[in-house]
């Protein structure tokens, strides 16, 4: 292929980088939207209208995340993503402007195509240009925020402020007139609700120009080496100052202690520190936004983002890295004389021990903040319900809850770490499997829509006949593999069985506390209810097996 100008070459390059994600966004919006519309097509008018509103949200939602494929290419580094191209003989304005325009226009175009298709097929007046323009505005601000700074904190705050402002504006516009007994923006009002004034487009244009100007100025500094350098941190490495916040010597007495030190210092304690910081910041954000009505959603978003951040930061226990779009495990750790199962165990345990208190701290701080939220009655009622449920637990049941919570977090950390490891090892098969899985769900939803309101029940009913056998079979297969590959010793296996037994006992205790009488249930339902008790056993064999897959490729 001959590319006749730098601009075409850069556009082609961006297309190559983002084509898969663009396809995903398009498919998710169209398939998801159509599936929801189809499922509820035989329902009452009100439900059908609601399904159209959900479809609209589904079409908009993928454009809220920024471009993951660019972040992946860039190893999640802050700063201009295509920094390797600083040496290209083009002006900074072109260097910035071309990808910025592309990454701004493409989400708007994807939205337009999806919304137009839904509009034509369903007859609902899905809004086109006004929403597309605001999606473009959000994405141009994302790009400017991400590219203008090499400070992760500023970058994250900037993204949160942008998306918070976007949601607040949408909330303000859509809920301008209250409709009793319904949400305020049913489809029949869309033509008027989304008929934004022309000043909006002027504002969007100004946002675009300002974003472009700021990004060009800041990238010019980075290009000429004036901005502070922070380029060498590989995702998911934490900032070096955060890692070195905790100074304590590496023990030399045993490999296990040294490995615990390594994992604590490199990732565990930074996660905990971020959790504590967010726990402190949440009340501050709530306190600042409390008197300002339109800013309150921002506090809720910040709280949700805090929990999400903890979950995202906490799950890559095996330290999978990305460089130039390639995922790999650290050869440094892989070549240490340490058993794979032990390594997996230590990594999961250390990460879990740090993630759990971080999550608790963030959760408690949000809990406390919600108590003094004004005008959020539904949140208050949820709080009371949870307080009531926990309050009636006996001491023994509370211990069971604590056991389930801790082992549950460890299971989550181990399973996500394992999935990330397998995704690094087998990216193509896993992508195909995920596509097929999502596609089958979409198809199943559409087909079962013919069964009317029983469709959902028909769909979810059989899963209990699949879940439990899948967990059992996966556990048996993985157990056989880890013993065949001599990853797990008998001693470790005994430990795993003990932990699983503790979790199982605690799980059954909580089921009883919730009023579930297993004896009175049909056998399949009882097995399905008990199947989560097998999860610790399954991830205990899955984690070393998956780590072995990336340690010995």
């Amino acid at each position: 292929m001959t590319l006749r100008s730098p601009v075409f070459a850069m556009l082609w390059e961006n297309w190559r980088l983002t084509q898969l994600e663009a396809a995903w966004r398009l498919v998710l919006g169209i398939v998801g939207g159509l599936a929801i519309l189809a499922v509820f097509s035989s329902q009452r008018e009100v439900i059908k209208d609601l399904s159209a509103a959900i479809a609209l949200v589904l079409v908009v939602l993928p454009h809220f995340l920024g471009w993951l494929s660019i972040a992946k290419l860039n190893s999640g580094r802050p700063g201009f993503p295509l920094y390797l191209l600083y040496t290209r003989p083009v002006r900074t304005a072109v260097l910035v402007g071309v990808p910025m325009a592309y990454l701004t226009v493409l989400p708007a175009a994807i939205y337009l195509v999806s919304a137009l298709l839904l509009r034509v097929t369903s007859g609902y007046p899905f809004p086109l240009l006004p929403v597309a323009a605001w999606i473009a505005a959000l994405n141009v601000v994302y790009a400017a925020t991400n590219w203008s700074t090499r400070n992760r904190v500023i970058q994250m705050l900037g993204m949160m402020v942008a998306s918070g402002a976007w949601v607040s504006l949408a909330n303000h516009r859509l809920n301008a007139e209250e409709i009793q007994g319904s949400y305020d923006w049913p489809p029949n009002l869309w033509p008027t609700r989304f008929d934004f004034p022309l000043t909006d487009y002027a504002l969007i244009g100004a946002i675009g120009l300002a974003s472009f100007g700021v990004a060009v100025a800041r990238v010019a500094r980075q290009r000429h080496g004036d901005a502070p350098a922070a380029m060498m941190v590989d995702f998911p490495g934490f900032p070096e100052w955060l890692v070195n916040l905790f100074q304590f010597p590496c023990p030399t007495s045993s490999a296990t202690r040294a490995q615990v030190w390594f994992d604590l210092k490199s990732s565990g304690l930074p996660v905990l520190a971020i959790g504590l910081l967010l726990a402190i910041l949440n009340p501050l954000v709530f306190a600042i936004t409390r008197p300002i009505e339109f800013a309150r959603p921002f506090a809720i978003m910040f709280a949700m983002a805090s929990v999400l951040a903890m979950l995202i930061l906490g799950v890559n226990a095996f330290g999978i890295r990305w460089r130039q779009g390639r995922a790999y495990a650290s050869a440094f750790e892989a070549t240490q004389a340490y058993g794979t199962a032990r390594l997996a165990g230590i990594k999961v345990l250390v990460r879990s021990v740090c993630v759990l208190p971080a999550l608790i701290a963030v959760g408690l701080s949000i809990w406390a903040c919600l108590s003094f939220m004004v005008g959020e009655a539904h949140l208050r009622s949820w709080q009371h319900a949870i307080e009531g449920a926990v309050g009636v637990l006996t001491g023994y049941q509370q211990v069971a809850l604590a056991v389930v919570a801790f082992i549950g977090v460890a299971v989550m950390v181990a399973s996500v770490a394992a999935i990330m490891a397998l995704a690094a090892r087998y990216p193509r098969p896993l992508n195909i499997a995920t596509c097929l899985y999502l596609l089958s769900w979409g198809l199943a939803l559409v087909l079962l829509a013919q069964a009317g309101h029983r469709g959902i029940g028909l769909l979810f009913g059989p899963t209990r006949f699949i879940d439990a056998p899948a967990i059992v079979l996966a556990t048996v297969y993985l157990s056989w593999r880890v013993f065949a590959e001599r990853l797990l010793t008998l001693r470790w296996a005994c430990g795993v069985v003990l932990i699983s037994a503790a979790f199982g006992a605690a799980w059954v205790t909580l089921l009883r506390a919730a009023g579930v009488q297993l004896a009175g249930l049909p056998t399949m339902d009882a097995v399905w209810m008990l199947s989560p008790a097998l999860l610790p056993l399954m991830v205990s064999v899955l984690a070393p097996w998956s780590l072995s897959r990336i340690r010995h490729i």
Binding site: M232, V233, G237, E240, V243, N244, P249, C250, P251, T252, S253, S254, A255, R257, A258, Q259, W261, F262, K265, S266, S330, A331, F332, A334, T335, Q336, A337, Y338, G339, T340, E485, R486, R551, H552, I553
Partner: protein, 301 residues
């Protein structure tokens, strides 16, 4: 003959459609230095990664100290020191933390030796890895790899990033010390003079295959570079038995050839020429002859 430390038998490995290793067999005994040479993409690093268990064999077998490095990583890695080509070290660590961390995995760690090497290299233990230059990272990685006095030292392009003095004096000394202690060193390099200087054995790889392997002296004795003169004028390189590469034109040609000199003289004589002078070929000449411009390519050109 010493004890066999590495035994690679009929090893193949492919990445997608590319055969990175194609039926490679290789053996290494203790107390010897093995140099692995080859062009970029020849399969050197892939072979070394198999020895460390970082890659699984598609077919064939790998045994290090009689153990399978994939099934028994602890058994193998506890006796191995490794310096990777990428010098991948945790950037947040200080040099002394790297030493302490590595020490914890190796009871045989020689702290005095590590300190001495750090001093020799002029590495500040309180410096972070991130702050080190590429060469200094290589030095830090080298200290971490050798300070536990491993039975097998695996160095992937150890010279990359090192300056000439460090390369010639310190690296050579370290490698020699390890070998003299009865331990084994295997290193890959594209610097043929370095391989020639440091190795007892040399293995050449090309397109995932071992094209030549043997004791360095035997290899060098097995190849000569001769200058031949013909009565007749040749526009194309003349076809000579045992010739691997030819340079020159007209009546005078330089030929790298294998086999005995007598046999070569006979084939030159058959074309009406004579061998003007002859000497042992250098490793570089042998490498270029076998992996680079071979006779067929010269003929086509």
């Amino acid at each position: 003959m010493g004890q066999i430390v590495i035994d690679v038998n009929d090893l193949s490995r492919s990445f997608g459609t590319k055969d990175a290793l194609d039926h490679v067999s290789f053996r290494a005994n203790d107390g010897q230095v093995y140099g692995l040479v080859g062009a970029n993409g020849a399969g050197k690093t892939t072979l070394l990664k198999h020895l460390l268990g970082l890659l699984r064999a598609t077919t064939g077998s790998v045994r290090v100290f009689g153990l399978d490095p994939v099934r028994d990583p602890v058994g193998v890695l506890s006796r191995v020191g490794y310096l990777s080509e990428e010098r991948e070290l945790p950037e947040w660590m200080r040099v002394d933390e790297l030493m302490r961390y590595t020490q914890a995995f190796h009871p045989t760690w020689d702290a005095a030796y590590a300190r001495g090497l750090l001093e020799t290299f002029g590495l500040d233990p309180s410096k972070k890895i991130k702050e080190l230059s590429k060469g200094m990272r290589a030095q830090a990685g080298l200290v971490a790899a050798v300070a536990h006095r491993p039975e097998l030292l695996i160095l992937d392009e150890p010279s990359s990033g090192l300056d000439a003095v460090v390369r010639r004096d310190i690296l050579d000394a370290i490698v020699r010390t390890v070998a003299d202690d009865g331990r084994t060193v295997i290193f890959s390099s594209h610097l043929l003079d370095e391989v020639e200087r440091m190795s007892d054995h040399v293995t050449m790889m090309h397109h995932g295959r071992v094209t030549l392997s043997g004791a360095l002296d035997d290899v060098r004795r097995g190849y000569q570079r001769s200058r031949v003169r013909f009565v007749e004028h040749f526009d194309q390189p003349p076809v000579l038995e045992t010739a691997l590469a030819m340079e020159g034109g007209g009546r005078t040609w330089s030929v790298v050839h294998s086999g005995s000199l007598e046999q070569f003289r006979y084939s030159v004589l058959a074309l009406g020429g004579e061998v003007v002078e002859s000497r042992d070929a250098t490793l570089e000449e042998i490498f270029l002859a076998r992996a680079g411009r071979n006779r067929q390519q010269v003929e086509v050109a």
